[in-house]
């Protein structure tokens, strides 16, 4: 390759080549989970603990205020919410993984190789999606053992899981941006916690939003964690799961006031797509700036 004064032809990386690179990086990230099973165990233990605690400690009290479709079983109502909680907290792993790679110089190594630039980020979010899928599966199994039963159809149930995965994937990209911006693992973790914790609690994950004060309820009902939790409940338990029932409430009116299932599913998907549209390019930009 001689140097000429003409404009230099830049080598391009074909989509096939990029797909291979993404697969290689994804596999590498997943291997880490297998070699360091603590990662997966901790990622699973915490939500399972929540599942047990909430079901047996609060189940009795909150169980009264939940929709009848949950058949008085708080676990039916709780599990979809906890799946979203897991997705939300699990997304922090994306930030953690990236900051670790950055600080250990692994990303420098990758950048010195003739590989697709996108592979580091795509491989990371993809492997986290798969990891999330695994944790969600464990949770669902645990839920079934504790008495969870979907009330719609298997298809509704699976559709719910897919909505959850989509949401988890979108959150991963938010966390990728944060991780790359703050650069250090501890800071990334606090940032995740600070952001996710209030959102998870100010949502319908644990209790119906109808029980919240108006100002909080207004916020809680539009934010993505509530919307996605509702979407899952609707898909797994049916329309009635989104209505507020209880003493002194007219069930017909309550059902009429409830948000519709497909409305919530659509909103959740819009949230996910919106997040991806903003945070994929943002992560890529921050990545270039951080390592360039």
């Amino acid at each position: 390759m001689a140097i000429t004064s003409e404009k230099v032809e830049r080598a391009r990386i074909s989509p096939m080549h990029a797909a291979k690179d993404i697969a290689v990086i994804t596999r590498r990230n997943l291997l880490r989970n297998i070699r360091l099973p603590q990662l997966l165990i901790f990622a699973t233990v915490q939500p399972v603990m929540f599942l047990l605690l909430f079901n047996y400690v609060f189940g009795g009290a909150i169980g009264q205020a939940i929709p009848a479709i949950a058949q008085g079983k708080y676990i039916n109502w709780l599990l979809p919410g906890l799946l979203i909680q897991v997705a939300a907290f699990g997304a922090g792993q994306t930030a953690l993984g990236l900051t670790e790679d950055l600080s250990k110089g692994v990303i420098d190594r990758f950048r010195s190789l003739p590989m697709a630039r996108s592979a580091v980020l795509a491989g990371r979010t993809l492997s986290d999606l798969i990891r999330n899928g695994f944790v969600i599966t464990l949770m669902v199994v645990m839920g079934f053992v504790m008495g969870f039963r979907y009330q719609t159809s298997f298809i509704g149930f699976v559709a719910g899981l897919l909505v959850a995965m989509m949401f988890a994937f979108a959150l991963s990209w938010i966390m990728a941006s944060i991780g790359l911006a703050v650069k250090n693992p501890e800071a990334a973790q606090s940032a995740t916690f600070l952001g996710v914790f209030p959102l998870v609690f100010a949502s319908s994950v644990f209790v119906p939003t109808q029980t919240m004060p108006d100002w909080l309820r207004t916020f809680a009902e539009v934010q993505p964690i509530t919307v996605t939790t509702n979407a899952l409940r609707g898909l797994m338990l049916g329309q009635e799961a989104l209505a507020e029932f209880g003493p002194g409430i007219n069930p017909v009116q309550a059902l009429a006031d409830a948000p519709s299932v497909h409305g919530q599913v659509l909103m959740s998907l819009l949230w996910s797509i919106g997040i991806l549209m903003i945070f994929v390019p943002l992560s890529v930009r921050v990545y270039r700036r951080t390592v360039g």
Partner: protein, 337 residues
Amino acid sequence: MSKPIVRVENIVKVFKKANVRALDGVSLEFGAGIVYGLLGPNGAGKTTLIRVLTTLLRADSGYAEVAGVDVAADPTSARTHIGLAGQYAAVDEYLTGRENVEMVGRLYNLPAKEATKRADEVLHNIGLAEAADRTVRTYSGGMRRRLDLAASLVGRPQVLFLDEPTTGIDPQSRLGLWDIIRDLVAGGTTVLLTTQYLDEADQLANRIAVIDNGRLIAQGTGDELKDQMGGSVIELHVGDEVRDQAIEALTGLSTEAAAFDQYRGSLRLPAPDGSQTLLNVVRRLDERSIAVQDIALHKPTLDDVFLTLTGRGAAEAEAEAEKVTTSKRRGPRGRSN
């Protein structure tokens, strides 16, 4: 020299936030098949230059070319020709040695089978065949460095960049690594390595460039650099109160007057006749009844080269590099050049 395989022209890199002029107009070039040693103290700009050449960092100005490819204009092509083992081993703790190397092979775009074969080969050559299937977590620091080197070799790079490959490695392993590097060069690879040790550059490098404060201050073979030193050096410690007396006493015994190295608190003077000069020095000091606390004859070190080239020791240069934020012209330019 045939067509240069690495060509650097007037590269400038300023880290604006830190207000550091890490590279201040560096130019160098060399042909294929040699070891080029970049010698300099902490903060000299060695890593920064390697990062520019390996496409990790864009220079502010200047031109850099590796294997005929402009690294700024076509980084992807440049990357197919290079291998990098950075200053800190960038290996994955939770993968095995083999998985690490195979992965890098795949990212060099080798087919899976070929990557496996190549990984076996380089792991064997580098003496990690037995540990290949253990996770890197169980590796020692030296093994990690070697694994990092193995990974940088798997793509059969034309030019290999090694940033302080032997720092933090025991002397035995260091020799082993030198042999590996020599074998690579014998096999046609070109190596650019950085080091803080003159003897390493001397043993390994066909050509050496001394870098300080982002500028090349000398280039040549090891012998050429040492010739500027006039061979071995005598280093002696005397009490502060007799220092000037000692300097005076030693005039005429060497090619130069004894110089005081503030940083080390010692007097140094070239010993063109080796131990004979040492004997003369001891005798002279004895005649004048000047008490010597400590005296030694040694081969020129980086410190001596520095002292000669810049008029200050390497340790001192490093301390100064911490303070100096923008590169100004250095003070005394050394006595012998």
